[in-house]
Each structure stands twice: as structure tokens, then as C-alpha cells.
């Protein structure tokens, strides 16, 4: 076949195309790496979306929180509701941080309670007098970050409990939207007694709420407010006694008067709640987050820095060693990666308010062959997230 070799030699002597420079080959390498990274990220995103979609299809049980509709709408409530949501920043600043208001407790987030990351969760009951005052404070605070609708069911706390018949409303059927976080209220019982000597059941906690409730509130008291799995309040932050004998109208009027005991209790509690909620408003936090009172409250909360900033700024992912590094270096890296992912998983924030995280775990795989530059024998770690999405 020397004939074929001879003829093809002409192709080599007079090349069909010029050789591209080495810089071109290097730029191709870079492009290939970028493409691979983009594909990997895209696939991961698709997996997350698919997981949520599958969970959504599989979950046909509607959420209980939005089901109940009020029957005894009180016309008055609208104006008091407005009074609470329009408490001005200057009023809040004038109220400041009264000494008789309990500061929310900072908790250490764990994997078991990660479902309430990015969620302000309230668990209470309509009969509960402590919940009555805590709802007011929550309403003032939450209104600085979003908007309530369908908040129209007036209730009174139990007449046979301490602080009887406090005027408040129920979160049943309430809807709240905020660009910063999700609000998940659960009223466990109504204020209507049942035959068993208790109160008629209303709503059930979500699994994420239950895990946080059991972990942070071992005595099981009401109300329980969990702010993003970082701060909790148990019971009432201020004495419900300030509401005794007052109508909704009285309470609404007094919220705007910084010197009134009602404003001191409710607005003072709201100041701490706002400071805790500001830690969840990562990017474009509302102006109140930079007010002196909120900063002061944040100091009192023992914050210093936003706990959510730990994800991006506090600890970074360990740098992967070169492929030819000794196995001992790779094992050290694997351990560091595991610790990093545990922190990242504990701080994971649900990206989709319509979905609930059911389980989050950090799993390791001992590689039996080299993968993405990681040699065999090294344990590679990954975060696994399971969730479900309720009907909109």
C-alpha cells in the first residue's frame, strides 16, 4: 500500500488547514471546563426541581392552614388590624426595648430542624391568652416585611384560663406574603370547649414545625414562635395582663402611643422580633433593619452578625487537593468537606416558599474509582434534600 502512503503524503506536505496556536487549545480547555460546570449545575438544578415536582404530584393532601374560613367576621377588626400593621418606625423607636419584655432565645440550628430555615413559624391556640398578645406583636413585626390578607377572624382567649377573654384574632385562614421569608402559622385548637373538657382541634403542625416544636419547646407550652430556626420565643414575651379588659379598638388605639403599657408590651416585643427577622432578610432588607432600635435589639439578641451569613461568609468549602496528593491529604479534605456540608445543611434555606423540606441529610460515598479528580478510597460527601409542595 505504498501507493496510498505516497498519495497521502501530499496531504501532510501541503496541510489542508493551518495548525491553531497553543493558546487556542488552552482556551478550548477552559471553555470545556466552564461547559461541564454549567451542565453539572444545570443537572443539579433539574434534579431539585424534579424532586419537588414529584413530591408535589405525590402529595394530594391539602394544607390545613388555609382551609378554615371564618364565619363571624368582625367589621371592627379591619381597622384594628390596620392600626397594628401601620405602627410607624418612629413609634417603635420611641418604645425601644422595655425591660419587661423577654428577649427571644438564640438556638443552635440542627439538621433535624432545618425545615424551618427561611420560615417564621407560629404555633398557638385560639383559647391561649399568651398567644393573644404574641399574635399582636407578630402582626406588628411581620407587617414590616410583608403583607397579610384574609386576617379576619376575631377570637377571645378562654374565659376560664388566666387573663380571661383577651381580645385577639386567629391566624386560621390568614395569608401572608413576603419576599424575605415564609410565615407558617398553626392554631392547634379553637376557643370553643369540647365535651372532653378541652378545646376543639383546629389545625395540625407541619412535620417541620413539629420537629422544631419538640426540640426547642420541650415543655410544650404555647405560643411557640420559631424565627428561621435561629431564634424562638416560648409563651408570651410580655405579660398578657396589659390586654385585660381592652377591646380590639382600645388595643389598636394604644399601639400608636409609645407610652401606653400596650405599646410597651406589644411594640417592644415586636422590636425584638423585627431584629430576629432582619437576619433572614439577606439582600434588600427593609429600612427598619438599619434603624438604631433594631441594631440595639440585634445586639441584645447576641447576634453581632447575621447567622445566615455563616453560609456564605463564615466558612467556605475546603479546597480540593490536587489529584496526585497523598491519600492522607485527601482523607483530611474529606473530613473537612463533611463538616462543611453539615453546617451548610443545617443552615439550608428552603428556596421555594410553596414547598416544605421533609428530610435533609449529608451522605458519604466511598469511591471505588476516581471521580472528578478525586481518587478512589476517598469518601465523597453530598447533601440530600427531600421535600414536598402543597397546593397553591
Amino acid at each position: 500500500m505504498s501507493e496510498l502512503t505516497r498519495r497521502s503524503q501530499a496531504l501532510i506536505d501541503v496541510p489542508l488547514v493551518p495548525s491553531p496556536p497553543l493558546e487556542y487549545l488552552q482556551s478550548r480547555s477552559r471553555q470545556r471546563h466552564h461547559r461541564r460546570r454549567a451542565i453539572t449545575v444545570g443537572l443539579l438544578g433539574l434534579c431539585v426541581i424534579a424532586a419537588f415536582s414529584i413530591a408535589k404530584i405525590g402529595n394530594s393532601t391539602p394544607s390545613l392552614s388555609a382551609k378554615s374560613k371564618t364565619s363571624n367576621t368582625d367589621v371592627q377588626l379591619v381597622s384594628y388590624y390596620k392600626a397594628a400593621v401601620t405602627v410607624s418606625n418612629s413609634t417603635l423607636a420611641a418604645v425601644g426595648l422595655p425591660a419587661n419584655v423577654e428577649i427571644p432565645t438564640k438556638v443552635v440550628p440542627s439538621l433535624s430542624t432545618v425545615g424551618t430555615n427561611g420560615v417564621v413559624s407560629y404555633v398557638g391556640a385560639e383559647y391561649c391568652p399568651f398567644c393573644a398578645i404574641q399574635r399582636w406583636a407578630l402582626l406588628v413585626a411581620l407587617s414590616k416585611f410583608g403583607t397579610f390578607t384574609s386576617l379576619d377572624k376575631q377570637v377571645f382567649s378562654s374565659s376560664s384560663d388566666v387573663y380571661p377573654r383577651l381580645a385577639s384574632w386567629s391566624f386560621v385562614g390568614a395569608k401572608y406574603s413576603s419576599p424575605f421569608f415564609t410565615f407558617q402559622p398553626t392554631e392547634l385548637s379553637s376557643s370553643t370547649p369540647n365535651n372532653a373538657g378541652g378545646y376543639r382541634s383546629l389545625e395540625k403542625m407541619s412535620s417541620a414545625q413539629r420537629r422544631a416544636f419538640n426540640k426547642y419547646n420541650r415543655q410544650g407550652g404555647l405560643s411557640f414562635v420559631d424565627i428561621g430556626n435561629h431564634y424562638v420565643t416560648l409563651g408570651a414575651s410580655a405579660s398578657p395582663a396589659v390586654l385585660e379588659g381592652l377591646t380590639l379598638g382600645n388595643i389598636g388605639n394604644e399601639l400608636g402611643d409609645p407610652k401606653s403599657p400596650v405599646a410597651q408590651a406589644i411594640d417592644g416585643t415586636a422590636n425584638y422580633l423585627i431584629a430576629a427577622m432582619c437576619t433572614m432578610a439577606q439582600k434588600t432588607a427593609p429600612s427598619i433593619c438599619s434603624s438604631p432600635t433594631t441594631r440595639e435589639a440585634a445586639k441584645a439578641l447576641g447576634l453581632g452578625v447575621s447567622p445566615t451569613s455563616e453560609i456564605s461568609g463564615g466558612k467556605s468549602a475546603p479546597t480540593q487537593p490536587p489529584t496526585n496528593a497523598p491519600l492522607s491529604v485527601w482523607k483530611k479534605w474529606s473530613g473537612a468537606e463533611h463538616k462543611y456540608l453539615l453546617v451548610a445543611a443545617a443552615n439550608f434555606r428552603n428556596p421555594n416558599p410553596a414547598c416544605t423540606i421533609l428530610k435533609i441529610s449529608v451522605n458519604g460515598t466511598r469511591l471505588t474509582r476516581p471521580v472528578l479528580g478525586i481518587p478512589k478510597g476517598v469518601t465523597d460527601w453530598a447533601i440530600s434534600i427531600m421535600g414536598k409542595c402543597g397546593p397553591k
Binding site: 500500500m1 502512503t5 497521502s8 489542508l16 488547514v17 495548525s19 497553543l22 478550548r28 480547555s29 470545556r32
Partner: protein, 179 residues
């Protein structure tokens, strides 16, 4: 494979320590400037498409450059590059076919310029396997064992395929000369 550059340079070759032994590897520049045109000629005659050949060769060379310490120390760096280039060209061709089917458009393959066109006419009648083996043997000038490694077949298969291809090409060349 553990590779550590020790910075020993001898002419066009650089020394690396591999598995505790000092191995001299030809520099990528030297290998690239010597082999590029042969790679292009081989791929053009294997695929019958200049664009596909250039794409395959560029991709394979860029990957070889990225891991030259390892590829350069192989028994046949060119064999490795041919294998990557052929596989990549095959993937690109498959993708193009799918795109054409999807968009329902037919793009005619441009004719190869002389003398590549004449050579392509000669080898186009061979089966794909025969063509690859013949081109890798006589244009790329690889040994039969290297061809086997490139195509993932045994040396015996390479030999018999080469034999059949030679017989067929011999007949074609005879016809050529007679006409």
C-alpha cells in the same frame, strides 16, 4: 498515575517522576508541530469531512495538552490522540445528524478538495472499519497494536481487516490504472 514535574529539560523532552522513575517526555510543542498535519489528514480521510476532522483534532489536542504529563509518557501519545479525536468526531457527527433531523433540513456534505478528494474517493468504498484501519496504518503510520488500542479491537482483527482492505484497494487501484 502519580506525576511530578522535576523540571529536567533535555532538548525537546522534559523529565517527570512516574512511579518513582524518571521518565523523559517529549514536549507538547514538538509533538504538536510534528503530528498536527498528519492528524488532520488521517481524520479527513476517516470521516470525509474537513470541519469534522478539524473539530476532532482540535478537541483531542486540547485535551492532550491539558494532561500532557500523562499522555506524553504513554507508549503512543498519537494513538491516544487519534482515539479521542475519532470518538469526538463521531459524537459531533451524531449530534449534527440529530439536529438536521430535528430541524428537518439537509445540509449537503462539501466535497473534499484535491488531493484529499481523490483519496477519499478511493477509500470511501471500504467499510468504516476497513477505512479506519487502512488510514491509521498508512496515513497515521501506527503499528497494528496501536491501531488495535485506538479502535478497541484485537491485533488479529486489525490484521485481517487490513488484509481484506488491501485486497479491495488493490483491485480499485488496478481499475484506476487501467482506466
Amino acid at each position: 498515575m502519580t506525576c511530578t514535574s522535576v523540571g529536567i529539560v533535555s532538548g525537546d523532552r522534559t523529565g517527570f517522576v512516574q512511579k518513582g522513575e524518571l521518565v523523559f517526555v517529549e514536549s507538547f510543542d514538538a509533538w504538536y508541530s510534528r503530528e498536527h498535519d498528519r492528524l488532520i489528514a488521517t481524520l479527513v480521510l476517516t470521516t470525509g469531512d474537513i470541519d469534522l476532522a478539524v473539530e476532532g483534532v482540535d478537541e483531542a489536542c486540547s485535551r492532550a495538552l491539558e494532561r500532557w504529563e500523562r499522555v506524553g509518557a504513554m507508549d503512543s501519545p498519537s494513538g491516544w490522540v487519534y482515539r479521542v479525536a475519532i470518538n469526538h468526531a463521531r459524537r459531533v457527527a451524531r449530534r449534527r445528524t440529530m439536529e438536521q433531523k430535528f430541524f428537518q433540513k439537509s445540509v449537503p456534505k462539501p466535497d473534499l478538495p484535491a488531493p484529499a478528494g481523490e483519496l477519499w474517493d478511493l477509500v470511501a468504498s471500504l467499510t468504516v472499519r476497513q477505512r479506519q484501519v487502512v488510514i491509521l496504518r498508512h496515513v497515521a503510520e501506527l503499528k497494528e497494536t496501536e491501531i488495535g488500542a485506538v479502535l478497541g479491537i484485537s491485533r488479529g482483527t486489525v490484521s485481517s481487516t487490513l488484509h481484506d482492505a488491501h485486497q479491495r484497494l488493490g483491485r480499485l487501484l488496478d481499475d484506476d490504472n487501467e482506466s
